[in-house]
């Protein structure tokens, strides 16, 4: 709940907007609930990246429900990143904020790199499957 509020807030205001008062307001909680999270900012920031990444994995993963064809699945994995829905807009906006902030905010770097590597890995596998499908199959006879 607080993480979700943080995702919304960061999307709108950037990481600089992530302060106790605004976050409490966004989450609909009293500010007293928030300080514990900021005891370990690095951990909170890491969780933020992970939530955003997990969301994108979920809505792009819908590709599996839509098609079994490896090439079509590959294309959908990418195209589902670009959807005109509130969730995709919000998730993408927050990801962009986190990406931009990591130029100066070092706590973001490792989580972002891991998330990107995970994304690359999934796409790599999908590309191999999606392109080898096109190779003609040879059959041995006799």
């Amino acid at each position: 709940m607080i993480l979700e509020a943080a995702v919304r807030l960061v999307g709108r205001e950037g990481l600089g907007g992530l302060r106790t008062g605004p976050l409490a307001a966004e989450a609909g909680l009293s500010p007293g609930w928030i300080p514990r999270l900021f005891e370990d900012r690095a951990s909170f920031v890491r969780q933020l990246v992970e939530v955003v990444h997990d969301r994108a994995v979920a809505y792009t993963g819908e590709a599996d429900a839509i098609t079994a064809d490896p090439r079509a699945r590959l294309e959908l994995l990418l195209l589902l990143e670009l959807q005109e829905t509130p969730e995709v807009r919000e998730t993408s906006a927050t990801w962009a904020r986190l990406r931009a902030s990591a130029a100066t905010d070092l706590a973001l770097r490792n989580p972002l790199r891991r998330a990107t590597q995970d994304w690359n890995r999934v796409l790599c596998i999908a590309i191999r499957r999606g392109t080898s499908w096109r190779l003609p199959r040879t059959r041995r006879s006799g």
Partner: protein, 203 residues
């Protein structure tokens, strides 16, 4: 542009790179630039004017329009490759400038004052690259079936993405530069797409 205006704009870029667009309050900018807020309003009229001029300034410093370092007789293909690769260089000025651009891009999502200037700055950049691709096609350095607009949009979007990944520590600069060079070759040297029932050419 007067020296004072340049002083204020370079301070604006510094502030945005450091504190984000939300850090660009008039009082903070005035303090950073060592001028009065009145002078900022005099030169830039209002926040919208300041943001527009800051975006132009960032684009110019990114070498997106012209790069004085490029010799005038350079062929258009080489010219556009140099322009695209310009942002992937590890100097304090380029790092700061690109960081500021990333912040401005991200802020444009929710800041109505920024949307049009960011769109316009991007369009001008894409247009310039597209124009060079067209010239390269005319000189036979790029195949005629290549669409300059599509290639220009994809390549500039890629420069933004690779720059972000490098600046955020996800990718080494070397890797980013190599990927960009590969992408330029893929875009400009591609064989014509075989037309199939699935669709016609690439846009």
């Amino acid at each position: 542009m007067s020296e004072r205006q340049q002083l204020i704009l370079s301070a604006a870029v510094r502030v945005i790179a450091r504190d984000g667009v939300r850090g660009l309050r008039m009082e903070d900018l005035a303090a950073e630039a060592g001028v009065s807020t009145a002078l900022i309003y005099y030169h830039f009229r209002n926040r919208a004017g300041l943001m527009r001029r800051t975006l132009e300034y960032v684009s110019e410093r990114a070498g997106r329009y012209t790069d004085e370092a490029i010799a005038p007789d350079t062929d258009p293909r080489t010219h556009l490759e140099l322009l695209l690769l310009h942002e992937l260089q590890d100097t304090p000025a380029i790092r700061e400038n690109s960081t500021a651009w990333g912040e401005l891009r991200a802020s444009a999502t929710f800041d109505p004052v920024l949307r049009e200037p960011v769109r316009a700055a991007t369009a001008e950049w894409v247009d310039d690259i597209g124009g060079l691709i067209e010239e390269a096609v005319a000189e036979g350095r790029v195949a005629s079936h290549v669409s300059p607009e599509g290639a220009a949009e994809r390549l500039t979007a890629l420069v933004e993405g690779l720059s972000e990944r490098w600046l955020s520590g996800t990718m080494t600069l070397d890797r980013a530069q190599n990927l960009l060079r590969d992408a330029i070759a893929l875009e400009l040297d591609r064989a014509p797409r075989r037309t199939s029932t699935a669709g016609s050419g690439i846009s």
